[in-house]
């Protein structure tokens, strides 16, 4: 029964005297967070390794299923891939390889996985980046308007549209956009073979290809940011400092811009980073629909093998980047919100 009195929750709330003074507290905070993120990355790698070893049968018999192979060749292939060794030693080999930037070799293309990921990385960054920037901008703007005119027609209509878009599967929205635009925009890939050489025509060509996938991602994600911004601003609406600002005689949009929005922005900014995992998941399906040559399409094409080393590599890269984004969010929150710093 004394458990309630001496629970560790209470112990940890007794603040270290150093932490009160700032300096070392911040350093400690940053170091614990980085440590936590590193632990998560290690967990991602461990999970990635053992997840893809759950497969019944070994990858070698899968690779040679169509070709006649002598037992000797089989043994050689096993040795080459390292699957003849015990699981734990395989794991340490894999870990050592990762540290040297070796993600293994693709079963289907017989190329280093890292090269394949490297080729596919930038298209995904372009797609996800442009969609996120637009979604954040549009979502925040609409969310602020909706909350400020709370319960107005604009608010109701916007919330309704956002909630509906939120329940739409992304790949379906992509398919509908393809049918509706009916050939105005290219339906596949990132480059057309007949585009003129030179920087400007090439850029325009990529943009032309980018519009539909970007729009698809945007339509679903802006809703999330809008709803978060709206509820966050609604929480500030009755705050005393806003009454004070109004009493000072400030114009309505000044009260909104200078006083209400900065405070409401805090939780939203970090959520943008936190949602990154979902954006990545969305990118996978959208890239599959539009054959956008990014990591998502690599996942899609590798699924039909299944090309396990590639899937494993992409999994580690995507999950790792999500962990890093969350670390950024936590650090950013500390910088942005002075209240967190002092307590």
């Amino acid at each position: 029964m004394t458990q309630t009195l001496s629970s560790p929750d209470h112990a940890s709330s007794l603040v270290d005297p150093d932490e009160r003074r700032g300096g070392t507290g911040t350093l400690r905070f940053v170091l614990t967070r980085i440590g936590g993120a590193l632990a998560s990355v290690v967990l991602v790698i461990v999970l990635g390794f053992f997840l893809f070893r759950m497969l019944p049968g070994d990858p070698v018999s899968f690779m040679i299923r169509d070709r006649p192979t002598s037992p000797q060749q089989l043994a050689e292939l096993r040795e080459q891939l390292g699957v003849d060794k015990p699981m734990l030693s395989q794991f340490f080999n894999y870990l050592g390889g990762l540290l040297h930037g070796d993600f293994g070799t693709s079963y289907l293309e017989r190329r280093p996985v890292l090269d394949m990921i490297g080729e596919r990385l930038w298209p995904t960054v372009l797609l996800v980046g442009s969609a996120t920037v637009l979604a954040v901008a549009i979502g925040l703007w609409l969310g602020i308007r909706a909350a400020w005119k709370h319960d107005s027609f604009f608010d109701r209509a916007q919330t309704g549209i956002a909630l509906t878009l939120w329940s739409v599967p992304q790949f379906w929205l992509g398919l509908i956009l393809l049918v509706v635009t009916n050939g105005v925009f290219p339906s596949r890939g990132m480059h057309s073979p007949d585009a003129a050489p030179g920087f400007l025509p090439q850029t325009l060509d990529v943009l032309h290809h980018l519009i539909l996938p970007c729009l698809t991602l945007l339509a679903v994600f802006y809703a999330q940011y809008m709803l978060i911004m709206r509820s966050s601003l609604l929480g500030e609406m009755n705050a005393d400092y806003l009454t004070t600002a109004r009493a000072k005689g400030l114009r309505d949009d000044l009260v909104r811009r200078r006083h209400a929005v900065p405070n409401a922005l805090l939780p939203t900014v970090t959520l943008v980073f936190m949602q990154f995992g979902m954006v990545v998941s969305g990118a996978v399906t959208v890239e599959a629909v539009f054959s956008w040559p990014g990591l998502g399409q690599l996942v899609y094409t590798s699924l039909h093998g299944p090309d396990l080393p590639v899937l494993q590599g992409v999994f580690v890269v995507l999950a790792g980047s999500v962990v890093l984004m969350n670390l950024l969010a936590e650090l950013l929150y500390r910088v942005l919100d002075p209240r967190v710093r002092t307590t």
Binding site: T4, S7, D9, L51, F171, S281, V299, L303, H304
Partner: protein, 305 residues
């Protein structure tokens, strides 16, 4: 109720009477909100229709070899929503697809809510290092791109509906776990828990008799919202081609439409029905879930925004 009646009742009967009264009160509050009620009615009709499909229609129309229509015929008097590439009725396939979607949606949700509730209650009830490890674990899964993990899982397991259910179930639990943990902490800080402990109640008694009934309402509201997500995840996974290749599901219908030329030929009647079906079912679940949440979540009570 008079006092004499109370005296005659056993403690168990009193507890049940209180529970019944609170369920009735919750139902009244829920029924007074129009969106939630409409969602519930529509959902009831959908579930009933899905269950009665074998009685209402002929399953042989789903067989590719017995298809009677031409490929990609537009809607006509015989095929109200046209035909797919194999000449099957899109209307029939969409209606039958409800069964797979609801089956996967409910089973995957059940699995994820079970895992989430178990981990959430354990983390909150035992505290200490158990809690620290479980929380770390939950946060890890919370940030992981769940679709990518689900794809990985379904790639290494046998293709089929069971695989999809497991893949969604084991990736969707973290938000439930967090919610349950928070609610358990609130409940365990109340005096009656301390009283139960002082009377010698063990872990099982406290969790089973006091924590679980207190957590259940929130879990119920959360479950309804999770079903919607699971249905979308199911459609996405089937669309990516990791589902059961023989099952008629909305995701698989859309995959066929993309890969067999329905999209490039502008055959909208192959795209709209399954997609709208997904949106509607998810919308029904969302309406019911939000309705339940406003009634059951003490934080939202009184502030309807």
């Amino acid at each position: 109720m008079t006092t004499t009646e109370n005296a005659a009742e056993s403690p168990r009967a009193i507890a049940w009477r209180r529970r019944r009264a609170s369920i009735a009160k919750t139902w009244h509050e829920f029924a007074s909100q129009k969106p939630g009620l409409i969602g519930l009615i529509c959902l009831g009709v959908t579930v009933l229709a899905a269950l009665l499909m074998p009685v209402l229609s002929d399953e042989s129309g789903l067989d590719v070899t017995k298809a009677t229509g031409g490929p990609l015929n537009p809607p006509s008097a015989q095929y109200w929503l046209g035909t797919d590439i194999d000449g099957r009725s899109v209307l029939l396939m969409t209606l039958w697809g409800t069964r797979v979607s609801l089956l996967v949606g409910f089973s995957a949700t059940l699995l994820s809510v079970l895992i989430g509730t178990l981990i959430g209650i354990t983390a909150a009830h035992f505290g200490g290092w158990v809690s620290a490890i479980l929380l770390r674990f939950t946060d890890f899964f919370l940030v992981l791109p769940s679709l990518v993990l689900a794809i990985a899982l379904s790639a290494v397991m046998r293709q089929g509906i069971g695989t999809i259910i497991v893949a969604i179930g084991v990736t969707a639990w973290p938000s439930t776990a967090r919610l349950v943990r928070a609610q358990t902490l609130t409940i365990e800080s109340r005096p009656y828990i301390e009283r139960a402990k002082a009377l010698g109640g063990g872990h099982l008694h406290i969790v089973g008799k006091h924590v679980l009934p207190g957590v259940m309402p929130l879990v119920l509201a959360n479950t309804t919202l999770v079903v919607g997500n699971s249905i979308i995840a199911d459609a996405t996974l089937s669309f990516l081609g990791v589902g059961d290749p023989n099952a008629v599901s909305w995701g698989a219908m859309l995959e066929t439409a993309l890969n067999n030329g329905a999209v490039s030929k502008g055959a909208w009647w192959n795209l709209l029905p399954p997609g709208i079906a997904i949106v509607l079912v998810v919308l029904f679940f969302t309406l019911v879930g939000r309705g339940l949440e406003t009634v059951l979540n003490p934080r939202l009570k009184g502030q309807r925004s």
